[in-house]
Subunit: 660 residues, 2 copies
């Protein structure tokens, strides 16, 4: 016969949120933001329940205990505001609160004018027991109350007054009988810095940024033009790999198999005699130039993000120093990357089934450590899904133990479950399918898919990358470039573009049906006219200003869609306490679209009986709206989107306040 589990507590704790896969992986949150933690807590029978949240920063010896409050239907809730970066732990404790049960019953019996003399003796026993758990003044007070309640010589009214006193309830609540309490498993939560939840990325190839044409651009050139990036409103400057580029099987312009002597090569073909993942491509400058760029960026409020692409050109030092980190074929050659029938002979993947996993993993960690040592705290990780999951889980935990401020963006454009898994095992942010979600229905469904994984997967929306020039951008013209950035930047609090290709509306594909750029910077140096007349930089700048100034745009899942009677118009709002933003975008790049938007005005909290002001942050125009149904008209020849700040009427007819 199985052992009788007689010591088991009578309370059950289930469905703790947030949690990821039953607690196997940590949830993700941002510092200084309140986290609501809930659980189902219930016991057998009808006794009252007590529950508390225990939380601490991992490593801290002291648990913070917060009483949970009932949210109805056996759900209990408490809030926690993590005030330091790193891994936090939390667990729930629940117990049957015999005192609260007794007090409630006593009230009902008194109301029914029943004899409560024995009940008062039961209460006396409970309060006396609590006094032995308490200390000092609390203990003395409980002893005094126990004596009063149990004193048959006293007036009944006096004894009941003490029984029902707030002082007694507080005293009992502060020393609950928890010896039979049930405790949930321990859950974890990654607490990131603010930038993990709200960031605006700009990707550029420094080699195309030379001041004065005909030269290989360098860090110093970028440093001189940082104000351009800052004026656009970006706070992360992401550089493709800055390391020496291999020459063996180097690709030419437009991915040509043969390259000429002047072809600069692909930055992702990392490694040459000049070094590997910790070296700098000489034509970009020295380590001092790099540090100068980093510091100049910081002075403008911009952080540098580096690309971590764990693969090697055939010329990478590791190929000769550590041949065991690569897969060898029966003919003795090293296995290059391939996706049959395609061959990538300029790239050797690392072999995570190597005979020396420890050596490989530590070397890869050293790459992060090196750049963290150079003050870099943001990494865009290239194709993480082609490296072992276990490696990422290990290396990210190792990095973040000492540097919880580090942010890692997962560049995995692959199947959804694989992308989600990379987020579960530690990536801070993730690229998404946003580039291929275009219609109203596609966007609404995709935002709903992302909301389902919000506890661990932070989307970063990019309308383009050096690898992705969508059909939409190829054919949609200026209106499409604007609308896709407005969508990216207002649907997701993390977003980015690859520029200047984006703001200069570079849109020619390598070939028909391809999503590759023609004359891509991946293979050649380009010259960009940042001052070109048609640049949409001013619009991007205004969108990013709206993001900086409006907390509602600094979160992703505070989103609500509203109906429109024209399915080329998409309408949604975001709210953060007093800040309310309403966005309407014309998804048609060719024709003016007009129609009515039907606002879910109760959800917005707008008073339908009064007018409210919608102030377009892109055009600075203001409109007076009322009720749920309002007309919009958006012309792709102008700005094909509204980003409205919604303001309720203030005291005078002329002034409008922030909406509360």
């Amino acid at each position: 016969m199985a052992k009788i589990p007689v010591a088991t507590g009578r309370v059950v704790i289930e469905a703790v949120t947030p949690q990821v896969d039953g607690g196997r992986y940590p949830a993700k949150r941002v510092i200084d933001e309140s986290v609501v933690i809930e659980a189902d807590v219930f016991g057998d029978g009808h006794d009252a329940i007590g529950a508390l949240l225990r939380s601490r920063k991992t490593g801290s010896r002291r648990w913070q205990e917060t009483r949970m409050t009932s949210a109805g239907n056996d759900r209990w809730r408490a809030e926690l505001t993590p005030d330091s970066l790193g891994v936090w732990q939390y667990e729930i404790e629940g117990w049957q609160d015999h005192f609260a049960t007794w007090l409630e019953g006593l009230g009902k019996k008194v109301a029914a004018e029943q004899d409560v003399s024995v009940d008062l003796l039961i209460g006396t026993e409970m309060v006396t027991a609590a006094s032995t758990r308490a200390r000092g003044k609390s203990a003395r007070l409980l002893r005094k109350h126990a004596a009063t309640i149990g004193d048959v010589g006293l007036d009944l009214a006096e004894r009941l007054e003490v029984a029902f006193s707030e002082e007694l309830t507080e005293g009992m609540d502060s020393t609950p009988e928890r010896s039979q309490a049930t405790r949930s498993r321990r859950f974890e939560m990654i607490v990131d810095r603010e930038l993990a939840g709200f960031s605006t990325w700009y990707e550029l190839f420094p080699r195309s940024w030379s001041v004065g044409a005909g030269r290989h651009g360098a860090f110093a050139d970028v440093a001189k033009q940082l104000s351009y990036v800052a004026d656009l409103g970006f706070d992360v400057l992401y550089l493709p790999p800055i390391h020496p580029i291999g020459t063996t099987f180097r690709k030419g312009a437009n991915n040509a198999l043969e390259s000429g002597p002047d072809d600069p090569g692909v930055p992702w073909a990392i490694g040459s005699a000049e070094g590997g993942h910790t070296a700098i491509h000489p034509e970009l400058g020295t380590i001092d130039d790099f540090r100068a760029l980093r510091d100049a960026a910081a002075a403008q409020g911009i952080e540098i993000a580096l690309d971590v692409a764990f693969q090697c050109s055939p010329d990478h030092p590791w190929v000769t120093e550590h041949p065991e980190w690569f897969r060898h074929r029966p003919d003795g050659s090293i296995q290059y990357a391939e996706n049959p029938p395609k061959k990538y002979q300029d790239i050797f993947p690392l072999d995570f089934e190597t005979s020396d996993p420890k050596g490989l993993w530590l070397a890869l960690k050293d790459v992060f450590d090196h750049w963290i040592g150079e003050g870099i705290k943001i990494f865009r990780v290239d194709n993480p899904h082609t490296k072992a999951f276990a490696f990422w889980e290990w290396v990210i935990a190792e990095i973040r133990r000492e540097h919880p401020e580090v942010i890692l963006l997962s560049e995995a454009f692959t199947r959804p479950k694989v992308m989600h898994h990379l987020a579960k095992i530690g990536f801070t942010q993730s690229y998404t399918y946003f580039a291929w979600r275009n219609t109203r229905q596609e966007l609404i469904e995709y935002m709903s898919d992302l909301a389902a994984v919000e506890d661990f997967f932070r989307p970063n929306f990019w309308p383009n990358t050096p690898d992705i020039l969508t059909q939409q951008l190829q054919t949609g013209g200026r209106a499409m470039f604007i609308s896709r950035y407005v969508l990216a930047a207002t649907l997701s609090s993390n977003c980015g573009i690859y520029g200047p290709a984006y703001e200069l509306m570079e849109h020619k594909p390598l070939s028909s049906g391809s999503e590759e750029y023609r004359n891509s910077e991946k293979y050649q140096i380009r010259e960009w006219d940042l001052d070109a007349a048609g640049s949409i930089a001013p619009v991007i700048s205004r969108v990013n200003k709206a993001r900086r100034e409006h907390p509602a745009l600094q979160r992703t899942h505070n989103l609500r869609f509203h109906a429109t009677d024209n399915d080329r118009l998409i309408c949604y709002s975001k709210r953060a306490v007093a800040d309310l933003i309403l966005v309407v975008v014309n998804l048609d790049p060719d024709y003016e679209q007009a129609g009515f938007v039907d606002l879910d005005i109760d959800a917005l909290g707008v008073d339908p009986a009064h007018q409210y002001q919608v102030h377009d942050l892109l055009t600075d125009r203001r409109y007076l709206w009322q009720g749920t149904r309002n007309y919009v008209q958006l012309d792709p020849a102008g700005i094909p989107a509204h980003v409205f700040a919604v303001r309720k009427r203030a005291r005078s007819e002329q002034s409008y306040d922030h909406f509360v």
Copy 2:
């Protein structure tokens, strides 16, 4: 630094279904029914995946291994058909299938006319390695194939033919390289007998069944009238507690505080000088009478279910033999049941915080063991939610270890999470809120709630019980009694009634607003005229016949609702392979309701281009329908429901086959 987990497999297994709370509790299934088991299985990179389901009856030393097949989007699937009662275990194993990856790449390279000489050498290595894992003939075959593929002296076509041969793929699939495989946690599944999933219950108070009036009815009286129950079509006969009834604080008719000498008492006030939970109330008969009833029932295809109510009258032997199993008050008295200000002085609850939990738990288990020893395999457990969860989890596992055929019905009318938890910890079936779900919308929502917990919670729908005479039944008349039974019996595969109160349409409440019966059998002996003219027994009999003859009605969650243009009409279908049932019920007991039903005909699989026959199993009338939209008209004065068997047209115009 954390230890480098270099041995971790590269494949991830997540989201295994069925599972309950991440595997903490077993799922529930029925013997000889196929169970679909699925999991997300994926690795890093783009390698092909192999996955298998391992399953066994707990205790068996041999695992059955079944290869899983891809269901798309990284989901893998296998089926398992448990062929014995008890607890089954299952787990998933997944690995990267290098051979399959290689074979796919080889195919693409050959198609692109690339050189594959090195690829063939790689294949040779893999097949040779597999031959060392295989045995006997398989090993010899693999060795032969490896030699052919690797033989540079042979014609390329010949080597490729072997590489792509089905024989080689089968050989490799039967000895996959699993040394780096990932294995999921182990999940469990309770396999019940068929009756757990499909049962039709009839509750009666034997004391009211005397043949010849004015006498306390006994088991022998019930035995004589079993054909009545059998003709109604019930297969479980549930008896309220059959034990001696206490006299202290015995309640009189209609729950009167005082009882007279002739009042029989409440069967749930268990225990007197004549014995407790293992004794039989003398007026019902002897143990031999009980056995005779049990055997007579079995002969008619009916199983006896007993009531297990773990509480004691003040006269129960345990009160003196084991005072420590009860809670004592400071004045020395035993705490009776109360729900302030209500007092139930005739009932002493057992104290699960007793100082002798082991003694108490074993004594309660002995009660089950005693009646199992008397051949009883079905128990309706009274108020399980007022006893410790840990006790139920222990005792049910103990009972079922030796008697996996035992079925326990949880009578917990309490908050949903508590009801669900009792199902998780082992109850086979559960009472539900069905009695209080009346409108179309309420019923649709409730069935959806139940579908969400179908892996562990098996509903049993009762339109009435001795404690529940709903407002609907009080006022709805004959049409309501019929429609509520049709709903119960066709929405849920497990259902029951408390009779003869139900079929005789007993509907007078104790008082206005009360759900208690007036002159309830709980407190007094009643006389029932089973042959009363107005009895709805014939309709119940027809409904139960339809249930017995139609597999579609023997499951619960094969349900689909269809639209109607009159919200007093509810329409739904159930399908089990070739059997298709369509139900339409008029929810209005007062007025005829007519309208169109809009069938989701694609989901039904009916051919909209041809007529199909709907055969009403309640009236035996047949109608020819076509397409999605068909007219119905249901009069509460007649039978206010259709239970249609749907048949497609067979060869001749006159005959209709089962729908396939």
